[in-house]
C-alpha cells in the first residue's frame, strides 16, 4: 500500500475529510493518518479547517422545533485539499544547513 498517496487520493476525490474518516477508509491508525495529513499540510497541498457540527439531543428531530435548546456546537478538524500536491510544489520544510557531528 502507498498510504501517503492514498490519503492524497481521498482528499482529491472528496475535497475534504477528517483524519478518522481517512483512517477508517485506509484501515490505518488515526494517529498515522494525522501525521500524513500534517505532511501534506506542510507541503502546502492541504489545509486544516474546523468544520462545525451540531450534536443533536434528538429533540429537534422529533419536531420539537424552536423549543429545543439542548444542542451544542462542536468542531471536527478536517483537511481540505488545496491542490498542487504534485511534482512542481516545493517542500514546505524549513531548509536546515547540512552539518554533522563526527564522533
Amino acid at each position: 500500500m502507498k498510504p501517503l498517496f492514498a490519503v492524497r487520493e481521498i482528499l482529491q476525490k472528496q475535497g475534504m475529510a477528517s483524519a478518522s474518516q481517512i483512517a477508517a477508509e485506509l484501515k490505518l491508525s488515526v494517529g498515522l493518518a494525522e501525521d500524513m495529513l500534517a505532511y501534506w499540510q506542510r507541503r502546502g497541498a492541504a489545509e486544516q479547517v474546523a468544520v462545525g457540527t451540531r450534536k443533536s439531543c434528538g429533540g429537534c428531530r422529533s419536531g420539537g422545533g424552536d423549543r429545543c435548546g439542548n444542542t451544542s456546537a462542536s468542531f471536527v478538524h478536517a483537511y481540505r485539499w488545496c491542490g498542487g500536491g504534485e511534482k512542481a510544489v516545493t517542500t514546505a520544510q524549513p531548509a536546515v544547513p547540512l552539518t554533522w557531528h563526527q564522533p
Binding site: 500500500m1 502507498k2 498510504p3 501517503l4 498517496f5 475535497g15 475534504m16 475529510a17 477528517s18 478518522s20 474518516q21 477508517a24 477508509e25 484501515k27 490505518l28 491508525s29 494517529g31 498515522l32 494525522e34 501525521d35 500524513m36 500534517a38 505532511y39 506542510r42 507541503r43 468544520v51 462545525g52 457540527t53 451540531r54 443533536s56 434528538g58 429533540g59 429537534c60 428531530r61 422529533s62 419536531g63 420539537g64 422545533g65 424552536d66 429545543c68 444542542t71 471536527v76 478536517a78 500536491g85 504534485e86 511534482k87 510544489v89 516545493t90 517542500t91 520544510q93 524549513p94 531548509a95 536546515v96 544547513p97 547540512l98 552539518t99 554533522w100 557531528h101 563526527q102 564522533p103
Partner: protein
C-alpha cells in the same frame, strides 16, 4: 539497501561516560522510563542557549556507569514543532550520543514507528522499547516483539514503564547493546530512490556510509541544503532523474515509503486477538460492507425496508387495539356521557365526533410511528446512520447535495417537520436550503393512511407495488428538485461533507426508548392539537351554508364545505376529479392543514351524507365489549404479522373490506364512496397529488422557520404546481385515446409551464450570481 547497516560493531564511546539518549514522540512514556532507569540520580538544567529543560541522570550497567539523557518529545527529525523539538532533533543528529533508546507507544505503534524509521537512518546504535503494552493488550492486540526485532535488526523490549515492568529486560538489553551494537535496518525506498541515494552517498564527503546515506536522504527530501554549488547541481540532476522515472517527487516517495513501512512493522508486531480483537474484526467487516462503493446504498435501502417491515407490520399488531379502544372511549364513551347530561346535539357531535374522532385518528397512528422512531433511534445509536450518510455521499454529491442530507430524508418518512428541523445538521447554507426544500416530497406516515385506503379499494392485487411506487416517486421528485435548483436558482459549489464515524455499539435500551418517546410525545401533542381543532372545524363547516336567508344550518350537500369544494373542482378536472366528487377536494383542502385528516374528512362527509342519525352510536354503547374486542385484535394481528413479514404494508392480506377499514382507519361507507367517486386512474392521480402538494401546515411553518418566507412560499407554489402538473399529465396520458385533442393541449401546457419555471429559476440564479460577485470581489480585496 546499503550493507553498512548489517554489520554490528563495538561502540566507540564519546569522551567521558557513554551517553544513552531517550527519544520518542511526546507522551510515549520517556520521562517515566527515565525515572525508572535513573531513580534519584538526576540532574536538571537547561539546554545551552534555550530555556528547554535538560534532564540527565546516571545509570549503572553491569558495574559500568552510563549517562542517560531524557530528550523532549519529537515527531520527526525533518523539522516542525517548537524549540524543544529542535533541541531533541539537534542532539540526536549532532550530539554526543552513543546509544539511542527509542520509546514507542504500543497502543499507537504505527504512528510512533514513523520516527523509528528516521532514527534508523541516522545509523546510530539503537534499542526499541515498546512501552504501554498493557494498553495495546486492552485494545485486543497481541504483542509480537520477536518478529519486529528480526525485521528491524534491533533488540525490542516490551515494557509497562509506569509499573516498572520490563526494567530488568531493558537493562540486560542495554548492557548487551553497549558491548555489541546493532544499527538496525532502515526502510528500503524502492529502486529509483535507492539509486539516487547511492549516487549521492558516493558524492557526499565523510567516512561513515550510514551517515552519508542519511545526509543524502535529507538532501532528497529537501530538509537540508547542499554544501556547495557543485553538489547543488548534482542534486538537481539526481532529482530530475527520479522525477523522469516517476509521477511523484522524491520527497513524497520517501515519506510514503516511510509511512508504509511504519504501518507494515506495526501490523507485524501487533495482532488482534480476544474479545476486543473480535469486536474490531466485526467492525472492520461491517464497515467493509456498509461503506462499500457498490454495497453501501443497497444495504441502506435494505435497512430502510426492515424499518418499514417492523414499523408498519409490527405496528399493525397494536394499531387495531389503539384504534378501537380509543374510539370506544373517546367517541362512543364521551358521546354517551354527553348525551346523558342532556347537552345540545350539535355540541355532542362536535365534542365526540369532531374532537374525539380526531384524537382517535392520532392515537391509531401511535404504534407504527412509535416503532419507526424506535428503530431510527436504534440505528442512530448503533453508529449505522452516520455510515449510511457516508455511503450515500457519492450519489448525493452528484445531485448537488451533501451525504448528510440523507438523514433528514429518512426522518421524513416518519414526519416532514422533524426532517426539516434535522436539516440543521448541514452546515453549508446552500446544501441546507436544498435539503429542506426536498423534505415535503418524502412520504410521511400520515400520507400512508391515504395510500392504503385507496390501495385497498383500487389496487387490491398490486397495492404494495403502487404504494412502493409512490414512495419511490417522492424520493425521485425530491432528488430531482434539489438537482434542478442546484443547476438553476441555487448554483454553487457542493461543499464536501465531513462526518465522524462513531464506533459501532449496542444501543442501550433506555437511551433508545427515551429518545423515541421524546419524539413520539412531541408528535402526539403537535398533531393531536391540530387534529382536534380541525376536527371541530370540519364538523361545523359541513353543517352550515349560504342560503337565501344568509348563513344557516343546512344539509351537507349545500354546506359551506360543499360550496367551496365545488368551486375548486374545475381546477382539478384535468386530473380526473369531477363535480359529483367534491368531497375529494374537501379532503385535499383539509389535507393542506394535516394529511392525517384527509381520510377523516372523507369519513365525516360520507357518514353525514349517508347517516340519518349521527347520535345512534352514543345511545347505548357497549364500551366494555368494544374494549374486549379491541384487546382480542392483538393476538390475531400478531399471527398476521408473523405470516406477512415479506409484505411490510400488509396489503396482500387485505382480502376483505373489513381488514381494509382497519388498515386505513376508514369505515366501509367511506371506502364505498371512494370507489364510486374515482376511477382507478383518477385514484392514482389523486394519490400522486396527495404525495406532491403542500404536506401540511406544520411543515410549512417549519419551512418558514428554517429557510424563511420566500423559500416557504416557493415550496408551497412549486409543490402544488408540480402535484397538479404531474397528476394532470398522468391522467391525460391515461385517457389520451378518449380525447386526444384536449389531452395534447393539457400535456403541452403543463410541459410549457415547467419549461417556463426552469427558465425563471435559471434567470433568478444568474441574477443572484451577478449580485453576489461584487460582494465576493470586495471580500477578496479586503
Amino acid at each position: 539497501m546499503s550493507t553498512c547497516h548489517e554489520e554490528n560493531q563495538k561502540i566507540q564511546f564519546t569522551a567521558g561516560l557513554p551517553v544513552i539518549a531517550l527519544a520518542g514522540n511526546p507522551n510515549c512514556g520517556k520521562t517515566t522510563l527515565f525515572n525508572l532507569l535513573t531513580g534519584a540520580h538526576q540532574h536538571i538544567g537547561n539546554w545551552p542557549g534555550v530555556t528547554v529543560e535538560r534532564r540527565s541522570g546516571n545509570l549503572s550497567l553491569a558495574g559500568r556507569k552510563v549517562s542517560v539523557v531524557d530528550l523532549p518529545g519529537v515527531y520527526s527529525l525533518l523539522g516542525g514543532g517548537g524549540e524543544d523539538q529542535t533541541v531533541a532533533r539537534d542532539f540526536l543528529l549532532d550530539g554526543q550520543v552513543d546509544l539511542i533508546v527509542n520509546i514507542v507507544d504500543a497502543s499507537n505503534l504505527a504512528r510512533h514507528l514513523a520516527l523509528t524509521a528516521e532514527l534508523l537512518e541516522i545509523g546510530r546504535p539503537m534499542v526499541l522499547v515498546m512501552n504501554m503494552v498493557d494498553e495495546a493488550e486492552a485494545q485486543g492486540l497481541e504483542v509480537h516483539t520477536t518478529e519486529l526485532s528480526a525485521a528491524l535488526g534491533l533488540p525490542v523490549v516490551p515494557m509497562i514503564a509506569r509499573k516498572g515492568r520490563g526494567r530488568s529486560e531493558l537493562l540486560g538489553s542495554l548492557t548487551q547493546t553497549l558491548k555489541q551494537a546493532p544499527h538496525g535496518t532502515p526502510p528500503a525506498y524502492g529502486l529509483l530512490i535507492e539509486r539516487a541515494l547511492n549516487v549521492l552517498t558516493i558524492l557526499l564527503p565523510g567516512g561513515n556510509p550510514a551517515r552519508r546515506r542519511f545526509e543524502a536522504l535529507r538532501l532528497l527530501e529537501g530538509s537540508a541544503e547542499p554544501a556547495d554549488p557543485g553538489m547543488q547541481y548534482a542534486l538537481q540532476q539526481i532529482i530530475a532523474e527520479v522525477e523522469d522515472g516517476s509521477t511523484e517527487i522524491p520527497a513524497d516517495l520517501i515519506m510514503d515509503r516511510r509511512f508504509g513501512w511504519a504501518q507494515e512493522m506495526a501490523a507485524m508486531a501487533l495482532r488482534r486477538n480476544g474479545n476486543a480483537g473480535m469486536r474490531q474484526r466485526v467492525t472492520d467487516l461491517l464497515d467493509r460492507v456498509v461503506l462499500n462503493d457498490w454495497l453501501g446504498v443497497p444495504v441502506f435501502l435494505l435497512m430502510l425496508y426492515l424499518v418499514f417491515v417492523v414499523s408498519f407490520s409490527g405496528g399493525n399488531v397494536f394499531l387495531d387495539f389503539f384504534d378501537q379502544a380509543s374510539a370506544a372511549i373517546l367517541i362512543h364513551g364521551v358521546g354517551h356521557v354527553l348525551l346523558e347530561t342532556g347537552l345540545p346535539t350539535w355540541l355532542i357531535s362536535v365534542a365526540a365526533g369532531g374532537v374525539g374522532g380526531g384524537l382517535n385518528l392520532v392515537i391509531s397512528f401511535i404504534p407504527p410511528i412509535g416503532l419507526t422512531f424506535l428503530f431510527l433511534a436504534f440505528l442512530d445509536d448503533s453508529g449505522y446512520m452516520a455510515r449510511a450518510a457516508y455511503a450515500m455521499d457519492r450519489l448525493m454529491r452528484r445531485l448537488g447535495l451533501p451525504g448528510s442530507a440523507l438523514v433528514p430524508m429518512v426522518i421524513g418518512f416518519g414526519c416532514n417537520v422533524p426532517a426539516i428541523m434535522g436539516s440543521r445538521i448541514i452546515e453549508d447554507p446552500r446544501g441546507r436550503i436544498l435539503t429542506v426544500l426536498m423534505q415535503p416530497f418524502m412520504s410521511c406516515s400520515a400520507r400512508l393512511t391515504i395510500y392504503m385506503a385507496f390501495a385497498v379499494v383500487f389496487f387490491r392485487n398490486n397495492g404494495g407495488q403502487v404504494v412502493f411506487a409512490l414512495y419511490v416517486l417522492g424520493i425521485i421528485v425530491a432528488l430531482l428538485t434539489a438537482w434542478l435548483l442546484g443547476k438553476t436558482a441555487m448554483r454553487g459549489e457542493v461543499l464536501p461533507f465531513v462526518m465522524e464515524l462513531p464506533p459501532y455499539r449496542l444501543p442501550s435500551f433506555r437511551s433508545v426508548f427515551l429518545q423515541s418517546w421524546q419524539r413520539l410525545k412531541v408528535f402526539i401533542f403537535r398533531v393531536g392539537r391540530v387534529i382536534a381543532v380541525i376536527g371541530v372545524v370540519l364538523f361545523i363547516l359541513p353543517g352550515i351554508g349560504w342560503t337565501d336567508h344568509g348563513l344557516r344550518s343546512t344539509n351537507i350537500n349545500h354546506s359551506l364545505l360543499a360550496q367551496g369544494s365545488r368551486a375548486l373542482v374545475p381546477i382539478f378536472e384535468p386530473m380526473g376529479i369531477h363535480q359529483d366528487n367534491w368531497p375529494a377536494i374537501s379532503g385535499l383542502v383539509a389535507g393542506a392543514a394535516a394529511k392525517e385528516i384527509v381520510i377523516g374528512t372523507l369519513n365525516g362527509i360520507y357518514q353525514r351524507q349517508n347517516a340519518a342519525d349521527l347520535l345512534a352510536d352514543y345511545r347505548d354503547p357497549d364500551i366494555a365489549g368494544q374494549l374486549w374486542d379491541a384487546l382480542n385484535t392483538i393476538p390475531a394481528n400478531a399471527v398476521t404479522f408473523i405470516t406477512t413479514l415479506d409484505d411490510p404494508l400488509g396489503l396482500s392480506a387485505m382480502e376483505s373490506t373489513f381488514s381494509a377499514e382497519q388498515a386505513s382507519g376508514a369505515e366501509s361507507a367511506t371506502l364505498q364512496a371512494i370507489a364510486a367517486g374515482f376511477t382507478t386512474l383518477s385514484a392514482f392521480t389523486y394519490l400522486v397529488f396527495v404525495l406532491l402538494y403542500v404536506p401540511c401546515a406544520s411543515t410549512m411553518g417549519a419551512l418558514r422557520r428554517e429557510v424563511g418566507w420566500r423559500w416557504m412560499i416557493f415550496s408551497l407554489l412549486y409543490g402544488t404546481g408540480l402535484a397538479w402538473g404531474a397528476s394532470t399529465v398522468i391522467y391525460q396520458t391515461g385517457t389520451f385515446a378518449e380525447h386526444p385533442g384536449s389531452s395534447t393541449a393539457w400535456i403541452a401546457g403543463v410541459l410549457a409551464a415547467f419549461a417556463l419555471l426552469v427558465i425563471g429559476l435559471r434567470l433568478y440564479g444568474q441574477r443572484s450570481d451577478m449580485l453576489s460577485k461584487p460582494f465576493l470581489n470586495r471580500r477578496a480585496s479586503v
